[in-house]
């Protein structure tokens, strides 16, 4: 029997065993995983190029993230700000806005929360509540500033947001070096530790705060409902799809844009307040730590859907918590984690584009062969 005939029979058996939907589903899964494989291939090549053993590097990242309950708790804690910002950014993306100012909004949230922690000698519960609210307020104001610049100043939100990030960074450093400097002199390691009531309670010895996790998950559910089930969400989507048509159909674009920026800023500010209250327990210059830019990648990967954000964040947080191991054990720079994350997102974009290209080619061929009626209009 020839080889071709055998393959033919195998194909028939597979087709008979697996219904079409199952095959499509499996193909979909393989295709969805291919960006991760591509990204791993890329980082592996990079590791080989610098003469480091790739498998050991990946093993270090994994064990750095999951080897003990303490490490897993760190990963969960690292998820919280990324979830908050990723959800926030999904909202502004839904409205068609590139809100890259999240980094600065985190900083402003932390600044407002720090002011409360330093100035109000209250008991724990009201103090923490007020710190979080202050963080929300600070972030929302900074987010609205980017929105105002966009709407009234016609400054593209990418430049407005980025500029405000650097301004917020300067403001944080000025505060730490001047009014908030510790008694023994200001350094880049930040202010004095907060008083005890301003510390968000941890779960036993683990460095994770249950309150923060609950807040983050609540935000995911609320954002899902807001975008899926309210008129506000529908109007944001309409603006994101086609700003001009939405405007002509009567969507009040200015208030909707401002609220989108404010909500995203509020979530980022909350993340900032949580980072300085639960994680560092003081204000530090690097309080945002690149979380804003990372969450942009998260939102891109989640295709702006809040419900997908937590799962993607888990990957980002694990890589983030695990990669400092590379420095400890292998004398490699921990930025390899960032390379991996960036490469995954790039690969997703490229693979999606490739699939769309193939689909276009196939459609054109079927039209050529007269198998399919020509589409009325091809959309880019």
């Amino acid at each position: 029997m020839s080889l071709g005939l055998i393959i033919h029979f195998i194909e028939r058996i597979v087709k008979w065993l697996m219904p079409t939907w199952l095959r499509a589903w499996l193909a979909n899964i393989v295709l969805s995983l291919s960006p991760i494989l591509l990204a791993l291939l890329f980082t592996t090549l990079i590791l080989v190029a610098v003469g480091a053993p790739p498998l050991e590097a990946y093993r270090n990242i994994l064990s750095g993230a999951f080897e003990s309950p303490a490490k897993i708790a760190d990963v969960v804690a690292a998820c919280v700000p990324l979830i908050l910002c990723g959800v926030g950014m999904s909202i502004t993306f839904t409205a068609g806005q590139w809100n890259v100012g999240v980094e600065g909004q985190i900083i402003l949230g932390a600044i407002f929360a720090t002011w409360v922690a330093r100035n109000l000698p209250w008991p724990q519960a009201p103090l923490l509540a007020l710190m979080l609210l202050a963080g929300i307020l600070g972030g929302a104001l900074w987010g609205m500033l980017a929105g105002l610049l966009k709407i009234y100043g016609k400054v593209h939100e990418i430049f407005g947001g980025l500029g405000l990030n650097y301004v917020a960074q300067g403001l944080a450093i000025w505060l730490i070096f001047n009014p908030w400097k510790p008694a023994d002199g200001a350094t880049m390691s930040g202010t004095d530790l907060f008083q005890d009531p301003a510390w968000m309670p941890h779960l036993g010895n683990l460095r994770v705060s249950p309150l923060a996790v609950i807040l983050a998950l609540t935000v995911v559910v609320m954002a899902y409902i807001l975008l899926r089930g309210t008129r506000w969400g529908l109007e944001l989507k309409a603006m994101g799809k086609n700003f001009r048509s939405a405007f002509l159909l009567g969507v009040p674009s200015t208030p909707r844009l401002l609220t989108a920026f404010a909500v995203c800023g509020a979530l980022a500010g909350l993340a900032g307040a949580i980072r300085c209250s639960a994680r560092y327990r003081r204000m530090i210059p690097q309080i945002s730590g690149g979380q804003g830019y990372l969450s942009l990648l998260v939102a891109l990967l989640a295709s702006y859907r809040p419900q997908w954000v937590p799962f993607i964040v888990l990957f980002f947080a694990a890589v983030g918590v695990g990669s400092p191991r590379l420095e400890l054990n292998m004398h490699l720079d921990s930025s390899l984690g960032g390379v991996l994350e960036g490469a995954v997102v790039l690969a997703v974009i490229l693979v999606n584009g490739w699939r769309a290209l193939l689909a276009r080619r196939q459609a054109r061929q079927s039209i050529g062969a007269g198998l399919m009626p020509a589409p009325k209009e091809e959309l880019a």
């Binding site: 990079i46 190029a49 610098v50 590139w98 890259v100 610049l149 009234y152 100043g153 016609k154 400054v155 593209h156 990418i158 430049f159 407005g160 980025l162 500029g163 405000l164 990030n165 650097y166 301004v167 960074q169 300067g170 450093i173 000025w174 070096f177 001047n178 210059p285 830019y293 942009l296 990648l297 891109l300 490699l332 720079d333 930025s335 390899l336 960032g338 390379v339 994350e341 960036g342 490469a343 997102v345 790039l346 974009i349 490229l350 999606n352 584009g353 490739w354 769309a356 290209l357 091809e378 880019a380």
Partner: protein, 326 residues
């Protein structure tokens, strides 16, 4: 004595502007063809690192410069492929590449952090550098500075004075019309994005081999975003973009003079390093907002028209949109 100081300051401003000028001229060329290369910040960092690393290991500065240009071109090629062939969102691809390149530069550049290494040698141009005042300002530098000056003139000449330049403008302004006239739009876009990317790579090399020698964490600190903003500020015209770059460096030089003033001694240096970005927002506000229209209304009509023409620019009509050939 006074003029000496002035000439020296202007000369150092011309030198310090090198990377910004090269990067924003490169971006201007790319955006003129209708594609935004948003990866500038990462692209400059990665090419600066590569340039220094190659020059450091081989001991050959020319090789370093070539490698940096190659990196810039490669990043631009990815942008071109993703946005033209695959029709993905240019801004998304650019932003992701920015992040990826910054991290990659940190990772690969780790062994080269704070190492003293080679640099581009000082090379005054004979005769020209002896012209009083103009000589020391423009012709008493190194190769990179001359290339940055040359890039401005060459870009202007190419875009506005040659036949291919006219095609470039057509491809960026109205790709459909250019296509109808028999221009291969996407082919030309590929070429100009990669050409622009090569200049961006050169900008990176000028950073690590001429302006701020060597490599360190976040070595190029946001310079790419400044360059991107200057392209808008300069209204996509090489001369005005270059003017924006020199203005920016002038303000930065003034900032560092202020910083040395004892009255400002207590202000931490980080304030000064974030001031350019506040300036960036302000500059964009100036060229785009409607508030400026109201201010211009106070001027006499003829003057207002001139000021308006001088500070505003219009983006190429096809900027940021993929061209679908039917």
């Amino acid at each position: 004595m006074e003029t000496d100081f002035l000439v020296q300051t202007l000369s150092s401003i011309v030198a310090a502007s090198t990377p910004v000028v090269l990067a924003s001229i490169g971006e201007t060329i790319s955006e003129k063809s209708g594609v935004i290369n948003l990866s500038l910040d990462g692209s400059i960092a990665l090419s600066a690192m590569t340039g220094f690393a190659v020059a450091f290991t081989t001991g050959n500065v020319a090789l370093g410069i070539l490698a940096a240009m190659g990196v810039g071109a490669l990043v631009a090629l990815i942008i071109a492929f993703a946005s033209i062939t695959l029709r993905q969102e240019q801004v998304a691809v650019g932003f992701v590449l920015t992040m990826l390149c910054l991290e990659l530069a940190d990772f690969l550049g780790n062994p080269f952090v704070r190492k003293p290494g080679p640099s581009v040698g000082h090379a005054p141009i004979p005769h020209l550098s002896e012209i009083p005042i103009l000589g020391p300002i423009f012709f008493d530098h190194n190769l990179m500075v001359y290339l940055s000056l040359l890039s401005v003139i060459a870009a202007w000449w190419w875009i506005y004075k040659t036949q291919p330049g006219l095609k470039l403008q057509g491809v960026g302004e109205r790709p459909e019309s250019a296509f109808a006239r028999g221009v291969n739009v996407n082919h030309l876009r590929y070429i100009y994005i990669v050409a622009g990317g090569t200049l961006v790579g050169l900008a990176g090399a000028s950073y690590s081999l001429s302006i701020k020698l060597g490599w360190s964490h976040r070595h190029t600190f946001g310079i790419g975003w400044i360059a991107l903003a200057i392209v808008i500020f300069g209204g996509w015209s090489p001369w005005r973009v270059a003017a924006g770059c020199y203005l920016f460096s002038l303000l930065k030089a003034l900032g560092s003079i202020l910083q040395r003033n004892p009255a400002f001694a207590s202000v931490p240096t980080q304030i000064f390093s974030s001031a350019p970005f506040a300036l960036m927002i302000f500059a964009l506000l100036l060229v785009s907002s409607e508030g400026v229209d109201r201010l211009l209304a106070f001027l006499p009509a003829r003057l207002a028209r001139r000021v308006d023409r001088a500070i505003r620019g219009r983006p190429p009509g096809g900027l940021g949109k993929p061209f679908v050939q039917e």
